[in-house]
């Protein structure tokens, strides 16, 4: 889906399940993020209306959790672990290599919305250090060759898509 185009109908379909349920804000936001890949800023007001909240409150919740993003993300979201164990095992070099390969800084998304590069404090898989996640898949015991092949794999997928 083109993240620059806001699909109101799709949003309304998600909102329908939570109409007037103020408690449903977070699951609703999760659904929106799932479908759109991020939370389009245009969706804040309709969501607030449906849940009878102030739009500023909805925005407050979105910006509080790092799991929610108001900016479009790439098709592949890379989360490079910068925890202690991974650091000791050389995650700084891994990150530097990925940055160079994707031409992205931390927190950036490629202009074609294929890749987003993020770092996290710990993925909880220290025995696999150094680790990273791409979308929902873990990649452990990384080394330069493995990183190149993983990135290559995802890049190939994106060309096919």
């Amino acid at each position: 889906m083109d993240p620059t185009q806001f699909d109101r109908e799709k949003l309304d379909e998600i909102i329908k399940n939570y109409q007037d349920k103020k408690w449903g804000l977070i699951p609703l936001l999760q659904d929106v993020q799932e479908v759109f890949g991020f939370i389009p800023p245009e969706s804040i007001e309709p969501i607030a209306d449906a849940l009878q909240m102030y739009p500023s409150q909805v925005q407050g919740v979105i910006t509080f959790y790092s799991g929610f993003s108001l900016k479009p993300k790439g098709r592949c979201v890379l989360k490079v672990c910068r925890g202690t164990a991974c650091h000791v095992k050389g995650s700084r070099s891994i990150l530097r290599m990925i940055k160079k390969d994707l031409k992205l800084e931390e927190g950036e998304t490629s202009p074609d919305y294929q890749f987003t590069l993020e770092t996290v404090a710990c993925l909880g898989a220290c025995f696999l250090a150094p680790t990273m996640m791409v979308n929902r898949d873990y990649f452990g015991k990384l080394n330069p060759t493995k990183v190149t092949s993983v990135l290559g794999e995802y890049r190939k997928e994106s060309k096919e898509a």
Binding site: P41, I44, E45, Y54, P55, S56, Q57, Q59, G60, F64
Partner: protein, 888 residues
């Protein structure tokens, strides 16, 4: 519930469960410093300054959010508590910019005060200023978030007290700050600039945009706001005899509590307008033979006024003089004014411009309920179980009443909004009834209310006890109503029967608080709609009980007072009727003077009489008929036809330019007096600053005028006038005894049963094909009424609100008025009577087929669209006019 016993600093205390340690400490005289706590806001626990220690457990806890527990041994300033408090303050200061010397908050900064009390000076911490954007684009509020300590008071005031929701926290940790939606500047957000957050902010993060003064004013004095009917208590900061700042008064038990609105908070800079009248003027012919107003002494001006008026009375009789008083002036002034008209000049030709709007509605509602709607505290509205609003958007007219409704909804009140326009209230969680087909139904509100009534009767959901004991002959009316089909009425209102049914279910077996548009009688079918609403109030027993009744958010501050003081052609003080010989006799006895027997002329009658030449002179106090009345050209011609005009006002306005004698008066903040607000609360106040130049309070001018005419009574003090009012107007028996007292209307239960108004089918006007749109001339929060004062506010003028005509998206599109770029094209609007030019903006809240024309903007030119005869009783409703629109 059993009380909880514990101790604070060794003192044994017993208090109710659920009380916070902070509340208990304050009640027992212990002082705990706080930054984020406010009596009107829910406890929050953001700042942690209010730490106390429980000596039993050694725990430190924030006293504002910790409820008392049995056997606690609280110490409010143990060495540990103090050390921790100091550290918190040090950390806050390490993050705070060192700009105290230029900070607007000056010596009132709570952070600085607490730091001083704790002895925190240099923090000796690594400074980590948290630079954030500085916002000054709007003329009202300056935001310097680098001074923000994240106490959340602004956000909580916005959400809990005002109910707008313009701001909330964004982000986390060091980056967190209060922001608007999409981090837009305030003027592009939902912010209404009520300024409540500015008054609450403990530091200089939020301050009033002030170009004439910064820092701490020399002194603060309390007064009552002179704009709308809410009658908010203000605390005015004064420096060098100028009002430089306005905040809500810190007193408890006020109408407004900690809130205000954009006018109350920011528009008082009109007091400093260069248009203020500062010396008396007399129209004289100069050497070149040109007539012009020339400065004169007060003595000469008053002699000229008294002499000319006496002369006209002698030559043409008392009926040739008219008096226009003002619902913006005090009770004392209106009392004196009507007495001068009636006793000295012998005429009942006394009225005010508010008499066709709010005042007429108040009179009508009071007549129908036998005075039972006269005392209607807004705190009752806030605690109501059900609220019905009829064609009103208090967010723009009387914002403080709007806040009360929103707070009631948050407390669980059922709100039914009857309005074709999707007002903020309709969007706020109210059940919104509106005509569903495109094109608004012309008798929508009338039929919608009746449909609800019919439904409640059909469901037998009315207050039988009340109907039996208080209503006159209910059976015939009930039978007629029982024959009425709620569905047919719903159809006439163009509302689906299902929605009427839902509304009726929400209101079933509840006592209802009705909030009725103050300008209802200025719209077509207003009287019938009011009758319908009062019928519904009666059959549900909502009259004369607590937390229910009729609430009229009047546009002007002293609508009720001017009426009670007898500033009306057919009423004497205390609501006594001129036509009733007994009533007249009673006042004559008290005054020791004759009162003319015939009723005087109302505003329409006065202008007509001026046109035909039977009226020769007008004395106008605090009104600007050339701006406020329909068809200003006709009014101008009529006034020019007069031999003599006295204008007593605070501002050089269009009407003053026509006057023969101009008397400069003091505005409300510049004099002593009392106002009666929409609740029936009489609020006395004293001068905050002296009037500018040679200007004098209105009552002083009137007293001097009375003396000039040879009237024996000397009104040298306000107390002298109050003594007389207390005697002549029994409702005002308590006037002046305290700063705030309530009017005491006679008990309606003694004056017999209340009749229900018959419900007849309304004949609606056909749409004129040449004028297909219906224009509603309505209030917008930036201007009060016709805007004579608010248009002189530098801040309001700078706000860029130019009063665009608001149109529904569909209509705007059909006329090619939207280009999708948000441009606001110019249009010409024509009614059968006149035309004006405005730019146009699209507003989704406007129903298709309607346009909103804000009142008070561009010299209040909207009045050019209205036929003056619309004011002729019973009034055809000047606020809604058929129009057509042309693109320029």
């Amino acid at each position: 519930m059993k009380n909880i016993a514990f101790s604070i600093n060794g003192k044994n205390i017993s208090t109710l469960p659920g009380t916070s340690i902070l509340e208990a400490a304050i009640k027992n005289g212990f002082r705990i410093p706080t930054l984020c706590s406010h009596a009107d806001l829910a406890p929050y626990g953001a700042c942690r300054i209010c730490l106390v220690e429980d000596e039993n457990t050694g725990r430190l806890m924030a006293s504002c959010v910790t409820p008392v527990a049995p056997d606690m041994k609280i110490n409010t300033d143990s060495p540990r508590v103090t050390a921790n408090r100091k550290n918190i303050v040090r950390l806050m200061i390490a993050e705070h910019p060192e700009s105290c010397i230029v900070c607007n908050k000056g010596n009132r900064c709570e952070l600085r005060m607490i730091a001083a009390q704790l002895g925190v000076a240099e923090t000796r911490l690594y400074r980590m200023p948290n630079y954030k954007p500085f916002e000054t684009m709007n003329p009202f509020i300056t935001r310097d978030l680098s001074k923000c300590i994240l106490c959340g008071k602004c956000i909580r005031a916005d959400h809990e007290l005002v109910g707008v929701g313009a701001i909330d926290y964004s982000d986390r940790g060091f980056a967190s700050r209060p922001v608007t939606l999409h981090e837009k500047p305030l003027e592009q957000s939902r912010c209404t600039f009520c300024g409540t957050c500015v008054s609450m902010c403990p530091t200089g993060a939020l301050s009033t945009q002030n170009t004439i003064f910064t820092g701490t004013p020399e002194m603060e004095k309390t007064t009552i706001c002179g704009f709308c009917g809410a009658g908010c208590s203000l605390s005015m900061g004064v420096s060098g005899n100028r009002v430089v700042e306005v905040n809500p008064s810190p007193d408890t038990g006020t109408v407004n509590g900690a809130t205000l609105c954009v006018r109350g908070h920011f528009a008082h800079d009109f007091l400093l307008s260069p248009d203020r009248l500062i010396h008396p003027m007399i129209r004289r012919t100069d050497e070149q033979g040109m007539e012009a107003l020339q400065p004169a002494g007060f003595d000469d001006a008053l002699s000229s006024a008294a002499g000319h008026l006496a002369d006209i009375k002698r030559r043409y009789g008392p009926e040739s003089i008219g008096f226009i008083g003002s619902a913006k002036c005090t009770n004392e002034e209106n009392y004196l004014f009507q007495k001068i008209a009636r006793v000295i000049f012998g005429t009942n030709n006394i009225t005010s411009l508010g008499s066709t709007g709010s005042q007429a509605l108040l009179r009508k509602a009071a007549e129908r309920t036998m005075g039972d709607c006269r005392v209607s505290p807004l705190s009752d509205l806030e605690n109501a179980e059900a609220i019905v609003t009829v064609l009103t958007d208090p967010d723009h007219t009387v914002p403080v009443a709007g806040y009360h409704i929103k707070r009631a909804v948050k407390k669980g009140a059922q709100l039914v909004v009857i309005d074709p326009h999707r007002s903020d209230l309709a969007a706020f969680g109210g059940f919104w009834l509106h005509p569903e087909n495109s094109g608004s139904s012309k008798a929508f509100a009338f039929n919608a209310v009746n449909a609800i009534t019919a439904h409640l009767i059909a469901d037998d959901a009315m207050d039988h006890d009340f109907v039996k004991s208080r209503i006159e002959d209910p059976l015939g009316w009930m039978d007629a109503m029982a024959d009425t089909d709620p569905e047919a009425l719903a159809g006439k209102a163009q509302v689906s029967p299902q929605k009427i049914k839902t509304a009726a279910l929400l209101l079933q077996n509840k006592k209802i608080a009705f909030v009725i548009a103050a300008d209802l009688l200025e719209t077509r079918h207003g009287k019938e709609t009011l009758d319908a609403a009062i019928n519904l109030a009666l059959i549900t027993g909502s009259i004369g009980t607590k937390n229910a009744g009729i609430f009229i958010p009047s546009i002007e501050n002293n609508t009720a007072g001017a009426l009670d003081m007898g500033c009306a052609p057919d009423l004497l003080p205390g609501g006594r009727s001129i036509a009733d010989p007994q009533d007249r006799q009673a006042v004559e006895d008290m005054w020791g003077a004759k009162i003319p027997e015939t009723e005087g002329k109302d505003i329409h009658g006065l202008i007509e009489a001026a046109e035909v030449g039977t009226l020769k002179a007008l004395y106008i106090m605090g009104e600007n008929p050339l701006r406020a009345l329909p068809d200003p050209e006709r009014v101008r011609t009529a006034l020019k036809n007069l031999d003599f005009i006295v204008v007593q006002d605070i501002i050089k306005n269009q009407t003053a330019e026509l006057a023969h004698v101009v008397l400069p008066a003091g505005a409300f903040a510049e004099k002593q007096g009392s106002f009666t607000n929409m609740e029936g609360r009489i609020q006395s106040f004293t001068a905050v600053v002296p009037p500018p130049g040679e200007a004098l309070p209105d009552w002083t001018i009137l007293a001097m005028l009375a003396r000039k005419t040879g009237y024996p009574e000397q009104y040298t003090t306000i107390e002298k006038i109050r003594q007389e009012i207390r005697r002549v107007v029994p409702m005002y028996g308590a006037l002046g005894s305290h700063r705030q007292v309530w009017i005491k209307p006679a008990d309606s239960r003694n004056s017999g049963k209340i009749p229900l108004a018959p419900i007849d089918d309304l004949k609606v006007d056909d749409t004129d094909e040449k004028y297909p749109l219906s224009a509603h001339i309505m209030n917008r929060r930036w201007h009060l009424g016709s805007g004579t004062r608010t248009s002189r506010s530098a801040r309001i003028s700078a706000s860029g609100n130019i009063g665009e005509v608001e149109m529904a998206p569909g209509d705007a599109k059909a006329m090619g008025l939207t280009d999708g770029n948000g441009n606001k094209p110019m249009i010409r609007i024509f009614s059968p009577f006149g035309g004006i030019e405005r730019s146009v903006a699209v507003n989704r809240a406007v129903p298709e087929g309607s346009v909103f024309i804000p009142q008070g903007f561009s010299g209040n030119d909207a009045m050019h669209l209205v036929d003056f005869n619309a004011l002729k009783p019973p009034g055809s409703g000047w606020r809604i006019v058929p129009v057509r629109i042309e693109k320029i």
